[in-house]
């Protein structure tokens, strides 16, 4: 079989529960619903790190955020690590990119043929980006297989209404839309004891609901653009030989735990929508709840389908291809995600339980009985063995990854300007625990 074409279409900051086909009655998403119908949804999909640049660097390198150097947005990628664009070019692919990139320190033009550079706001860029993607699919005359990466921004524009003063959003309109405002999530707690950001505490309950309302509309905005690209692909002569992957770099607080934004390891920021479509090759209408997958797997999956060797030093990433082709395969028992936002922390997820650890504390949740993460079980003796088991998983993970060292020149740019030592010292101490 010829090498397949690959379209990797990604959105930014999309909460895992804002696709109508998954049961959300407050959004209208006919295009993502179509992806759900025509593809396989991974319902236990997590980003590698819930922040833009680290997560994206994981997508494109197949390495975790503490391996490739981008452990937080301002930190540059290790220049010696190849990315998917460079890698697939070597394997004969025409690699094109349109829209948001945001991999710190990596010049996109060195890796891809850049169609549209995008802009930091979805309302300004997404339609133009979609049109370039559609034009590329319709007009290209190259005989090589292609890898097209499409970077939409929305619903990331929610970062602006999430500003303390509300940014550009029309919060005063909320009073007139009362009957249209969605309810607050079940784990919203207006008195979220100092855990939320103090600077958003001036919001009324109605303001929170209006925030969710505008967020849903942003999801619908990008849904239309997704549909435009996907429909073009399916109507093109590439339809039968193109793998289509849809993912988000991370989620959004969306008032869960009374939070907005990302960077933390609760499900609202950490869990992401992920759908793979290829009619005739990937099962349709399947919602896979049995396999935990990670954003870092995307690189491994794309290399596998492209017939390319795995990217170097892929320690954690695994190809989804066996899962999508119905093979019986031993899959990972646990999944680790990391963050450096606020403070260095990790989440360890097993089938039923989840722990969130930082340098001082561990929280532990039964995700089957408490999917909204409202009851920390870490002090309950009945869970001590499970908590230890999660710690062992974390340690095993640390023994597998190759931690990016602190550069000789160091780094010291403002508050928490040097995160290298913070995670290196913590990780070393955890590894020494046994």
């Amino acid at each position: 079989m010829d090498k397949p074409n690959i379209v990797f279409l990604h959105v930014d900051q999309m909460h895992h529960d804002v696709i109508a086909a998954y049961g959300n009655p407050h959004v209208y998403t006919p295009n993502m619903d179509r992806l759900v119908r025509e593809g396989t949804s991974f319902m236990s999909s997590y980003c590698s790190m819930p922040q833009c640049c680290p997560s994206r660097a994981c997508w494109y390198t197949g390495r975790m955020s503490k391996e490739h150097g981008v452990m937080a947005n301002p930190y540059p990628i290790d220049p010696n690590i190849p990315d998917l664009g460079q890698w697939l070019r070597e394997c004969g692919y025409d690699c094109a990119y349109t829209g948001k990139w945001h991999v710190t320190g990596r010049d996109l033009t060195g890796s891809f043929d850049v169609l549209h550079r995008g802009h930091g706001m979805g309302e300004l860029q997404d339609s133009d980006v979609a049109r370039t993607a559609v034009a590329y699919i319709q007009n290209r005359e190259d005989d090589r297989p292609f890898f097209l990466s499409v970077g939409f921004l929305n619903p990331h524009d929610c970062c602006f209404p999430a500003m303390p003063h509300g940014g550009p959003a029309k919060y005063g309109l909320g009073a007139k839309l009362k009957d249209k405002l969605p309810p607050l999530p079940g784990n919203f707690d207006y008195d979220y004891a100092k855990g939320g950001r103090p600077n958003v505490r001036n919001w009324s309950l109605q303001d929170w609901q209006y925030y969710i309302y505008v967020y849903h509309r942003m999801v619908e905005m990008v849904d239309c653009e997704i549909g435009r690209v996907y429909d073009t692909l399916r109507r093109s002569h590439y339809a039968d030989n193109t793998l289509f992957i849809f993912a988000s770099d991370h989620g959004d607080g969306l008032a869960y735990h009374s939070k907005t934004s990302k960077g933390f390891m609760e499900e609202e920021a950490y869990k992401v929508p992920t759908i793979v479509c290829w009619p005739g090759r990937v099962p349709q209408g399947v919602q896979d709840t049995g396999h935990m997958v990670s954003g870092v797997d995307i690189a491994a999956t794309i290399c596998d389908y492209a017939g390319a060797p795995p990217l170097p030093k892929t320690t954690i990433a695994r190809s989804w291809r066996p899962l999508l082709e119905g093979e019986e395969v031993d899959w990972r028992e646990y999944l680790v995600g990391e963050t450096s936002v606020g403070r260095v922390a990790v989440a360890v997820r097993t089938d039923r339980y989840k722990s969130i650890m930082n340098t001082e504390t561990t929280r532990f949740y039964d995700m089957q009985d408490d999917p909204l993460e409202t009851r920390d079980l870490s002090d309950e003796p009945a869970y001590a063995d499970l908590i230890r088991q999660h710690r062992d998983h974390f340690r095993e993970y640390l023994n597998r990854i190759e931690v990016f060292p602190e550069p000789e020149e160091g780094r010291n740019q403002g508050k928490r300007g040097n995160l290298y030592r913070e995670y290196i010292e913590w990780y070393e101490s955890v590894k020494r625990e046994v």
Partner: protein
């Protein structure tokens, strides 16, 4: 505690219809050219955008990012629109469209052609990225040249053609339902357009406008601000806004 007893964002900000561009409006000069023919007109807008400026105290700055010309003509019982739009977003994005509309209250879409081009920041045009599309609307069945189709249950309008409805029929009782075909490509059903009250713009001379709000799927609330002569002086989306530059 009830929502009404709590502090809220709206209590400390300017009127929501223009809050994103309130800094820009301090120096705003409305178009005062008399306009009497609201069947044949040309509207020229500046396209401006709210700027994310985390280190600048509110209100936030605004930047001009492009222009939009909407020309409406009545010819042989048909309504013709010519659209030209140019925006600077990661390069220069050109859009041209010709639209034929039904001669009815909403100028509902009948058929159209749209062409977009993209120029890199270097000024070089990429021929691969020229996109020309067409479409028709026959009794609510929208067919795009690509083969994509949508079924509308309400009249179908575009963001450019809906202005005429407000200019000729906008009043305190306005309450219209329609489907939006944004950019003549993106189907966004269940739109409602309604009067949202009077507003005084605090520019140097002060300007009284009537405001109309559009809500619906796939859009942030859109406000249309028309003066006492029903000229659409300002249209605010979320980050974007149109500022009337001329009307002929």
């Amino acid at each position: 505690m009830t929502a009404s007893s709590q502090p809220g964002i709206e209590q400390v900000t300017d009127p929501y219809a223009v809050r994103a561009i309130r800094e820009y409006l301090k120096d705003f000069s409305p178009v005062d050219r008399d306009a009497t023919d609201f069947e044949n007109f040309t509207l020229t807008f500046r396209i401006v955008n709210w700027v994310f400026a985390p280190n600048v105290p509110a209100p936030d700055p605004t930047s001009e990012m492009g222009s939009l010309i909407i020309q409406r003509r009545v010819r042989n019982g048909e309504i013709e629109y010519q659209i030209e739009q140019q925006t600077e977003v990661g390069g220069t994005n050109h859009l041209e469209a010709q639209i034929l509309c039904e001669d009815n209250e909403l100028d509902t879409l009948k058929s159209w052609n749209i062409k977009t081009r993209y120029m890199l920041p270097s000024g070089k045009e990429d021929e691969r990225l020229v996109l020309a599309e067409s479409g028709t609307n026959r009794e609510g069945t929208i067919r795009l040249g690509s083969g994509q189709s949508f079924q509308a249950e309400n009249p179908v309008v575009s963001q450019w053609t809906v202005l005429h409805h407000l200019m000729t029929r906008g009043n305190e009782h306005t309450h219209s339902s329609f489907e939006l075909l944004q950019d003549l490509s993106l189907f966004k059903p269940n739109q409602t357009l309604m009067y949202d009250g009077p507003l005084r713009i605090d520019n140097k001379d002060g300007l009284n406008v009537g405001t109309f709000v559009q809500i619906g799927s796939g859009i942030q609330p859109i406000h249309y601000l028309l003066d006492d002569q029903m000229r659409p002086q300002i249209v605010t989306f979320s980050i974007l806004a149109w500022i009337l530059k001329d009307i002929t």
